[in-house]
């Protein structure tokens, strides 16, 4: 082995040791930094529910406008890549399987938890996609927060990763993903969890439609 080869070898060893030290160091120092924000509690008690007034593309709308209908209320946002389209898709599927008479007694409402980006127009465009006579509702940050509180909905902007560089538009929102079933008199009856199948939702609708 000649000298230059030896130098290369020693160099590689030095780099290797430095790398190992660096890895060790980063393991040791990691835990204190970067801890996620403490999760807000989702209450296990049934939320109070109740009336609210928000804005659709056709102007102000209140829950009481839908008196006489079974209301399926969902909170999410249009930039939601997976959870909301799954749940809204399943709700829409369930709705579309109802007969005409049942359909006339059921209303799906979609309330945004991201009013900064979700305008009434955007909500209308988005809900139209699901082809289930859905109404999209938005409001001021404060109005949304107060409706969310009534229904025990929890949401917060996710800590944004690398891809938020260009415009600050790429944030996602963590949110609870229940569907609230409100009876024909406006009383909250139950909440059903994320990813219920259309058949399961249809069953729930039937249960609460029959007096």
């Amino acid at each position: 082995m000649n000298t230059s080869q030896k130098t290369v070898k020693l160099g590689a060893i030095a780099i290797g040791i430095l790398l190992l030290l660096f890895l060790l160091f980063s393991f040791l120092t990691e835990p204190s930094t970067n801890s996620p924000p403490p999760p807000k509690a989702i209450s296990n008690e049934k939320p109070a529910g109740g009336n609210f007034t928000l804005t659709s593309v056709n102007g102000k709308q209140s829950l009481t406008d839908f008196k006489g209908k079974l209301v399926l209320l969902y909170f999410g946002y249009t930039y939601c890549p997976d959870i909301c389209p799954t749940d809204l898709g399943n709700l829409a599927m369930a709705y579309r399987r109802l007969n005409e008479q049942e359909k006339s007694q059921v209303q799906i409402l979609f309330v945004t938890v991201d009013p900064a980006r979700d305008t009434a127009t955007r909500m209308a465009e988005y809900t139209r996609y699901f082809d289930a006579n859905m109404v999209g509702l938005t409001g001021s940050e404060q109005e949304i927060a107060s409706v969310a509180k009534q229904y025990g909905v929890v949401y917060m902007k996710a800590p944004t990763p690398s891809n938020a560089t260009t415009e600050n538009k790429n944030y996602t929102v963590d949110h609870s993903a229940f569907t609230y079933i409100i009876d024909k008199t406006g009383v909250l009856q139950t909440q059903i969890p994320h990813a219920m199948s259309p058949a399961q939702i249809q069953q729930q609708i039937k249960t609460y439609l029959t007096p």
Binding site: A12, D82, P85, N90, A92, S197, A199
Partner: protein, 164 residues
């Protein structure tokens, strides 16, 4: 003697530096992975992101990590997971998906997915996205994922309940 020791350290160091990659004795990881039922979810007009789902089957005796995905239909492609934190759905980027030895990893709604961010256009059912998967050893696999509508797929309802 000293030389042998040097050689040993050298080998170990190189091993540490290259971690687990590029084990020449094995066939490449992409060849050991089979992809079934890939699809991309159709998106409502103007959506900012959508997701791709599929099942990855590992036909080797070693766990394989999918470390990266790229697509021709999105500016940014990331590996994501969801956690259901007492009803609170949190979506986070992850560095890899692991496919267990002789096992499967299922990418599905509400769980692990390949997130397509800032799509180059609104993806509609009937179109196809090309997705390139990169594994830990650097090997690639290219797949064609059809775009499917949540509604036409029956959402997450697997009861084969069709109205025609």
């Amino acid at each position: 003697m000293k030389r042998t020791l040097h050689n040993a350290i050298f080998t170990l160091t190189l091993g540490a530096m290259s971690t687990l990659s590029a084990t020449h004795a094995l066939a490449n990881q992409a060849d050991a992975i089979q992809v079934s039922d890939p699809y991309v979810r159709e998106m409502p007009a103007g959506a900012f992101a959508t997701a791709s789902f599929m099942t990855l089957s590992n036909q080797s005796n070693q766990a394989i990590k999918l470390v990266k995905a790229n697509s021709d239909v999105a500016k940014i492609t990331e590996l994501h997971t969801h956690t259901n934190d007492n009803g609170m759905m949190r979506m986070r980027q992850v560095p890899f998906f692991e496919v267990p030895a002789n096992g499967q990893a299922e990418l599905k709604p509400g769980g692990n997915h390949i997130m397509l961010i800032s799509p180059t256009k609104t993806l509609k059912a009937g179109e196809t996205a090309t997705i390139t998967l990169t594994f830990e050893d650097g090997s690639h696999k290219q797949i064609q994922a059809p775009v499917k509508s949540v509604m036409k797929m029956g959402g997450m309802d697997h009861s084969n309940h069709q109205h025609h």
